[in-house]
C-alpha cells in the first residue's frame, strides 16, 4: 500500500513540473517586455529598470525559472503588481466564499446525482431514465452564466424569494448563508450533477448485466438491495473518477459564477487580475487551482486502492 502511494506521488512530479513551467512561461511569453507591462503605460525608464532588476528579468530565462520556482517551493507566490500585497495573502482573503461554494456544490451534485443515476441505470428505458438523459443533454448545453441569469430571473426578480447577488459567510448565520449560496450552488452544480448522473447510470447499467447480479437475485435478495449493495457498490470506481475529473468543471464554473452572483472569491480575484494584467496574481491562482485539481485526483486514485482491493499497480 505504502509503495503504491509513493509511486502515485512520484508520478505527480513531472505533472507539477510541467504545470509550473507553463505558468512561468505565461508571463515571459507575453509580447513585449514584462517589465514595461508591469510598470504600466506612464512609467519612466528608471522605474522600468528598477522593476527589471528587482524581478530578476535581466537574468537568463532558466535562472529566472529557478529563482521563481525556488520561491514557490517556500510558498512565495510573488506580490500583486497593483496592490503590492503578497499573492498568497490575496488568495487566502478570498478563499472562504470559493471554498464554501465548491463544497456546497460538491455535496449538492453528489447527493442528487448518485441516487438519480442509480435509479435510472437500474430502470433503463423507463420515463425517469429518458427524462434524465434529456436533462443531461440540456445540462451540458446551457452555459453556466445563462442558467445563473435564468434562476435569478425566476427566483429573485419574479418570485422574490432569494437575493439577487452577494455572499454571506456562514459565520453570519446559517439562514443568510444558505439563501445567498442556494442559487450559485444549483447553477454551478447542474453540469456537474448531470455528468455524475450519466456515469452513475452507465456503470450501474453495466453492472446490472453481470453474473453476480443474477446470482444475488436468484438467492432472493430484495431488488433494492441488489441495486444498492451489489450494482452500485461495484460501479463506484467510474463514479469516483468522474467526480474527480468534474472538479475541473467546478473550477471553470466558479470563475464565471462568482461574476454572475457578485461573490468576492478567488474566481473574481483572477478575473479582475486578468482584466488588469496582474500577472503574479494570475499565475498564483492558476497554480492554486491546478494544485487542488491534481491533489483531488491523487486522493481519488489512492481511494480506489482502499475501496477495491483488486486495484494494485
Amino acid at each position: 500500500m505504502l509503495s503504491f502511494v509513493a509511486k502515485r506521488l512520484l508520478g505527480l512530479v513531472p505533472v507539477i513540473l510541467v504545470v509550473s513551467v507553463v505558468v512561468f512561461l505565461l508571463l515571459r511569453l507575453s509580447p513585449g517586455d514584462p517589465a514595461v507591462v508591469i510598470a504600466g503605460d506612464n512609467a519612466d525608464a528608471a522605474t522600468i529598470e528598477r522593476i527589471r532588476t528587482s524581478l530578476g528579468l535581466d537574468r537568463p530565462l532558466i535562472t529566472q525559472f529557478f529563482i521563481w520556482a525556488g520561491a514557490l517551493l517556500q510558498g512565495d507566490l510573488g506580490v500583486s503588481i497593483f496592490s503590492n500585497i503578497p499573492v498568497s495573502e490575496l488568495i487566502l482573503q478570498r478563499l472562504e466564499p470559493t471554498a464554501s461554494l465548491a463544497l456546497t456544490t460538491l455535496v449538492f451534485a453528489i447527493v442528487v446525482a448518485v441516487p438519480l443515476g442509480t435509479i435510472a441505470g437500474a430502470t433503463a428505458g423507463s420515463w425517469l431514465d429518458r427524462g434524465l438523459m434529456l436533462v443531461s443533454v440540456l445540462g451540458f448545453s446551457i452555459p453556466v452564466f445563462v442558467l445563473g441569469y435564468c434562476l435569478i430571473y425566476v427566483f429573485s426578480l419574479q418570485m422574490r424569494v432569494l437575493p439577487v447577488q452577494g455572499f454571506a459567510s456562514i459565520r453570519d448565520g446559517v439562514g443568510p448563508f444558505l439563501s445567498t449560496i442556494a442559487l450559485p450552488t444549483v447553477t454551478l452544480g447542474l453540469a456537474y450533477l448531470v455528468l455524475i448522473a450519466r456515469i452513475t447510470r452507465a456503470s450501474v447499467l453495466e453492472m446490472m448485466g453481470e453474473d453476480f447480479i443474477r446470482t444475488a437475485r436468484a438467492k432472493g435478495v430484495k431488488e433494492r438491495l441488489v441495486v444498492t449493495r451489489h450494482a452500485l457498490r461495484n460501479a463506484a470506481i467510474p463514479i469516483l473518477t468522474v467526480i474527480g475529473i468534474g472538479v475541473a468543471l467546478l473550477i471553470s464554473g466558479v470563475v464565471v459564477i462568482e461574476t454572475v452572483f457578485n461573490i468576492p472569491g478567488v474566481g473574481r480575484l483572477v478575473v479582475d487580475a486578468i482584466l488588469k494584467r496582474d500577472y503574479p496574481v494570475i499565475q498564483g491562482v492558476i497554480l492554486m487551482f491546478s494544485g487542488v485539481y491534481v491533489l483531488v485526483n491523487l486522493a481519488i486514485d489512492i481511494g480506489y486502492a482502499f475501496l477495491d482491493p483488486r486495484v494494485r499497480y
Binding site: 510541467v18 443533454v137 452555459p143 475541473a248 473550477i251 470563475v255 485539481y293
Partner: protein, 287 residues
Amino acid sequence: MSSLASPPVAAKRRLPAFLTHTSVLVGGLLILSIALMAIAAPLLGTVDPSRIEPAMRLKPPSELAWFGTDLFGRDVYSRAVYGARSSILIGLCVAAAALTAGVTLGLVTGYFRWVDAVVMRVMDGLMAIPTFLLAIALVSLTRASVGTVVVALTIPEIPRVVRLVRSVVLTVREEPFVEAAISVGTSTPKILLRHILPSTYAPLMVLGTYICASTILIEAGLSFLGTGLPPEIPSWGNMISEGRTFFQVAPRLVFLPSLFLALTVLGINLLGDGLRDTLDPRIAKRM
C-alpha cells in the same frame, strides 16, 4: 459489431444507420438552421449589427427593432443573428486546429515510443490546468482578437485529441495488417497516414463535435468576463456581458443571445451523442 480498425468501406455501409438516429437528425437540423441563419444573416430582416443610434438607447421591442435595442441603440435581434457567425466560425476553427495538431502529435507519440514519454508528460501537465483558466490566461497575454482567441482556445483542447489518437494508434499498430505493411517495406509516414490514420476518423468526428461545443461555450464565457472577442464584434458572449448590467430592467438583452447560444450547443451535443452511439459504442469509453 465491427472493430475500430475496420476499413473505410464498412463505415460507408453504416452511413444510413447514423442518418436515421433521432438525436443526429434533431441535432443536425438544429445546427443546419443556425448555420443557414449565420450565412443568410443580411437577408433575415436585420440591420447593420454595429450601427450605433444614441437616440434609440434601450428601447423595448417594436416593429422597427423586434427585440428592442441595447445600451448603444444597436438592434438586439440583428446582433444576435450576426452573433451566430462568430460563434460558429470560432467553434469550427478551434476544432479544426486542435484536431490537426492533436492528430499529428498523437500519431507520432503513439508510433514512436521514445517521443511518447516526453509528449505525454507535457500533455498530462496541460490537462492538470483547468481548460477555462488556461484559455483566459492565454488570452490575457495579448490584446483580444479573433486570432488570439482561436489560439488560446485550441491549446487546452490539444491534449484530449492527442490522448484519443494515441490510444487508437497503440491498438492498431499491433494489428496484422500493420505488421504486413511493415514487412513489405512500406515507409513509416505511409503506414501512419494510410493504414493507421483512417482508424481514428470515427472517434475524431465525435471528439470534434464535442470540442466545437465546448469551444463555443468557453468563448462565450470569455467574452462574458470581458476577456474574449473585442466588444465591437457582435458575439453572443459580448451581448450577454453588456446586457447583464441592465438585466433587472431589460432581461431580453441577456435572454435572446442566451437562447441562441444554448440551442447551438445543444444541437452540436445531440449530433455528437448520436454519432458516438452509432459510429462506435466503444468510443465513449475512450473519452
